[in-house]
């Protein structure tokens, strides 16, 4: 059975890009365009990894991270942040929220996405 990834990204075309890349690598991928949808998707899918954008429409990723931490079973799901603000976020500051890897959207390559997901599951 393939590993499941929930992609939380409000830019639909960027989300589709992530999904194409990850599906080619054999992952089962689900998409949520905002934090509220993400909670539902994560609850239903129980993913192995969450790929999370930071600046979401509506409730922000930080609220989602807090919410996940408040559930014992969901708090352990590893998270990969994909953000335009990578130069302003110290991964050490967000490790306590389960963030294992961070992708800088401005410099990442398609192969980095799958590599980060793999790395987050180690």
């Amino acid at each position: 059975m393939s590993e499941r990834v929930v992609v939380v990204e409000d830019d639909i075309w960027l989300a589709e890009h992530y999904m194409r890349v990850l599906r080619r690598e054999g992952y089962e991928v689900y998409h949520a365009p905002h934090a509220i949808g993400a909670i539902e998707a994560i609850d239903q899918v129980r993913p192995h990894v969450i790929l999370l954008d930071v600046l979401l429409a509506g409730t922000t990723a930080l609220v989602l991270l807090h919410e996940l931490q408040s559930h014992v079973d969901l708090a352990k799901i590893p998270i990969v942040l994909a953000t335009n603000l990578a130069d302003q976020i110290d991964i050490e500051d967000v490790k306590s929220y389960g963030v294992r890897r961070m992708l800088d959207k401005a410099t990442m390559h398609p192969e980095d996405i799958a590599a980060a997901i793999r790395g987050a599951m180690l």
Binding site: D11, I12, H17, R24, T59, K105, A106, P110
Partner: protein
């Protein structure tokens, strides 16, 4: 670049983010997307249909970014307040906006509709500026509307039929009040980049500048299931005088 009225008054720290910085931030997202799609296109794992779809997306993303740069140039123009005003049929403008964004909406699986409007009088406006305001609102609404969702262009007569309000109504996720307050602050003043998720509010600032140049105003209404952004313009009484 020195956008009028957008300098933060409190100075220092994050408040020191310049208009150039804000504009750069706003343009970063489309550039990031274009780069990712170009890198994917350069690979050899796509089907022909995927290639065509990605090429179309790249065109539409470029057009969105170019609209923003064009609006910025226009908002910066010292002649902004010298644009000619004339009686404009608001229904024509809403139809133009719908037509212009139709491909973008369709490609994103959303619908932009014009709510039926009866007996709407002309407004005193500049056709190009009014079009740009509604394009801005409708483009912004794309981010806040669920997939397969509908965005509506609406119009109504208010203030004893002296003003026309043209709105873009989206049906997106619920926005918490604290965040809404920050968002609506951007209607009149560009704030620091982090105050609003997804966007710096530059589009709202530009729209406000355009509305002011036409003696109009912009505003926003928060709904349980989304939001409306609107521009209000005075009704033209020119025809009534004939």
């Amino acid at each position: 670049m020195s956008l009028r009225g957008n300098q933060n008054q409190d100075g220092g720290g994050e408040a020191g983010v310049s208009a150039t910085g804000i504009a750069a931030h706003e343009l970063k997202s489309p550039l990031v997307l274009l780069r990712q799609l170009a890198l994917e296109l350069a690979g050899d794992s796509l089907t022909d249909a995927e290639r065509r779809s990605i090429a179309e997306q790249m065109t539409l993303v470029s057009e969105r970014a170019l609209r923003l740069t064009s609006d910025l140039t226009r908002a910066e123009s010292p002649q902004l307040h010298l644009f000619s005003l004339e009686p404009v049929n608001p229904l024509d403008i809403t139809k133009d906006v719908r037509l212009e964004l139709q491909s973008l909406y369709k490609a994103q699986g959303r619908t932009l509709s014009v709510k039926r409007i009866h007996h709407l009088p002309p407004v005193i406006a500049n056709r190009d500026l009014l079009r740009r305001i509604l394009l801005n609102f409708a483009d912004n609404a794309l981010h806040y509307t669920d997939i397969e969702g509908v965005v509506e262009l609406q119009a109504q007569l208010i203030n004893e039929r002296s003003v026309v309000r043209l709105s873009v109504r989206d049906y997106g996720p619920y926005i918490p009040m604290k965040q809404w307050r920050k968002l609506t602050q951007n209607l009149t003043d560009v704030k620091i980049v982090h105050q609003r998720p997804l966007s710096s509010g530059l589009g709202l600032y530009i729209s406000n500048e355009f509305a002011k140049a036409m003696d109009g105003r912009i505003g926003a209404i928060r709904h349980q299931d989304g939001a409306s952004f609107y521009v209000e313009l005075p009704v033209s009484h020119q025809l009534a005088l004939l």
